[in-house]
């Protein structure tokens, strides 16, 4: 119960803070711009040839502005609440908070609220974009990699066109994709949001180790993505290719080489890091 009170108070603090509003606005601008770009590029297209709504959703790999969002995303996740501990220290309100809720509730509340904040800034705008796409564009199952009659359709779905030795090929969760592309996109929005929340929690727990220079909190998540891209380049030299690009796990895309071990390692790392950082934060003193 005390933990819930701590989370509630910190959640109210978060949604009133300018950093959350900045983060949310940036994502919202991105999804609306993406929608408008899709709208403009399909202005004079015959509806029969227009791509399906699920293929024009901004969370799909072929989205026109995806490259921009991909490079900004590692910094965006930091915005909702990762700075809050350092802000409390610099403003010196922490004695009043710690005195009322205790260190455990305070730090546990920080970690959980970090997760929730970053979850929201991805989940809500991406759902808005999905809704707009489904209202505007046809549901005609025209995929970017072909329609039912195209030669490459089945091979793209099943991954039989991949010629290198890899752990996975074809569209993941194929049955769900065939049953309902809408549900498939919603699932990916949830995956993206959870990943975003975990990344934000990572930068939040890094803040427990530094005293000032909030700007340093941008480094951990960016470095994580950079290392993932770097490992991906190295992976090509292995016998079996594994995709280490973290963005490929959270966007809807038919890329190959995705192994459940990569996100599992990330989640396990996050849980272990959160546990030890939480213990460290509870033991240390702000003097």
């Amino acid at each position: 119960m005390d933990l819930l009170k701590s989370i509630k108070m910190q959640f109210i603090l978060m949604i009133n803070s300018i950093s959350f509003k900045v983060g949310f606005s940036i994502v919202m601008i991105y999804v609306l711009t993406s929608y408008i770009v899709s709208l403009i590029s399909n202005m004079s297209t015959d509806i029969a040839f227009m791509y399906s709504a699920h293929a024009l959703f901004c969370g799909v790999e072929f989205s026109k502005l995806r490259t921009i969002f991909e490079v900004v995303f590692p910094f965006l996740v930091v915005f909702p609440f990762s700075f809050s501990y350092l802000t409390d220290l610099s403003v010196k309100i922490h004695p009043y908070l710690l005195g009322r809720m205790g260190r455990r509730n305070y730090f546990a509340g920080k970690i959980v609220t970090n997760f929730i904040g970053s979850f929201i800034i991805i989940f809500v705008p991406f759902c808005v974009n999905l809704l707009l796409c489904y209202i505007t564009f046809p549901w005609n199952n025209n995929h970017i990699f072909g329609d039912y009659n195209a030669l490459n359709y089945a091979s793209e779905l099943l991954g039989t066109n991949v010629t290198i030795n890899t752990v996975q090929s074809g569209v993941p969760f194929l049955k769900l994709f065939l049953y309902s592309p809408l549900a498939y996109n919603l699932m990916y929005i949830c995956i993206f949001s959870v990943f975003s929340g975990l990344a934000s929690a990572l930068s939040g727990i890094v803040s427990f180790y530094i005293k000032n220079y909030k700007i340093l909190l941008f480094i951990p998540v960016y470095l994580l993505f950079y290392i993932g891209n770097f490992l991906n380049i190295l992976s090509v030299r292995f016998d079996k290719y594994i995709n280490f690009r973290l963005m490929d796990y959270i966007y809807v895309n038919p890329s190959f080489g995705r192994s459940f071990v990569v996100p599992l390692c990330f989640v396990v790392f996050m849980l272990v890091a959160s546990f030890f950082s939480f213990r460290y934060a509870c033991k240390k003193e702000e003097l």
Binding site: D2, K5, S6, K8, M9, I12, L13, N16, S17, I18, V91, K92, I93, P95, Y96, L97, L98, G99, R100, M101, G102, R103, R104, N105, C282, E285, E286, L287
Partner: protein, 214 residues
């Protein structure tokens, strides 16, 4: 009746003993004062008593219960500590409402009363960033008294206050003691100590001495 007990309290920081064998036995609805030079350890003592800082050795008992640093304590503590502030982007009322919502001991009306008691306007739209030093001190005191604490630790409460503000704070301290709270205040202002305190201690290089009252 509330009481504070400390047994052989020591606090070491980077090899220096900031608190040395502090033994306190404070009882009742009294106002206790503590005087001492800058850096003598008064603020550190308040931090340890309020559970913000872990003692290197010894115990702190509030109403017989050992104080926890990590867990939430049952004792209601009101604290004004030097240099502490509130969120600069919010108004005074919003700041205090956020703090009040943590434990839900009080409602908005009581928060407003606390702000009025210190001589501020609860409907003031200015954010704390735009407050003068005296206003920040007053809102900090409002934050300490709003939940009707059992223990009130005030570190330099009359700092930066005008004559009217000093009188308001003195009256608040008397009222809180009358209500039944155990008030422990530190001040460089000898007048505050003389007028308000029933018992006075002196802090010197981490050690606590009882001062004789004439």
């Amino acid at each position: 009746m509330h009481y504070i007990e400390t047994r052989n309290l020591n606090k070491e920081l980077k090899g220096n003993l900031v608190l040395k064998d502090v033994n306190l036995n404070l009882r009742g609805d009294k106002i206790y004062g503590i005087v001492g030079k800058n850096g003598s350890g008064k603020t550190m003592l308040f931090r340890v008593l309020s559970g913000l800082v872990r003692p290197s050795s010894g115990k702190v008992l509030l109403d017989g219960n050992e104080i926890h640093v990590e867990k939430h304590n049952a004792a209601k503590i009101g604290l004004v500590i030097e240099n502490a502030s509130l969120y600069p982007a919010f108004t005074g009322l919003k700041n205090l409402m956020l703090l009040a919502k943590i434990n839900n001991y009080i409602v908005e009306e009581e928060v407003r009363d606390a702000i009025k008691r210190v001589g501020l306007d609860p409907d003031d739209k200015r954010v704390v960033r735009k407050y003068s030093l005296g206003m920040k001190q007053r809102i900090a005191i409002a934050q300490a008294i709003m939940e009707k604490p059992d223990f009130l630790f005030l570190d330099e409460p009359t700092n930066a206050l005008d004559a009217e503000g000093v009188e308001i704070v003195r009256n608040i301290i008397r009222e809180e003691a009358k209500r039944g709270a155990l008030v422990f205040l530190a001040s460089h202002n000898v007048e505050d100590i003389d007028i308000l305190c029933d018992e006075t201690f002196k802090m010197a290089e981490g050690s606590l001495y009882q001062e004789a009252r004439e």
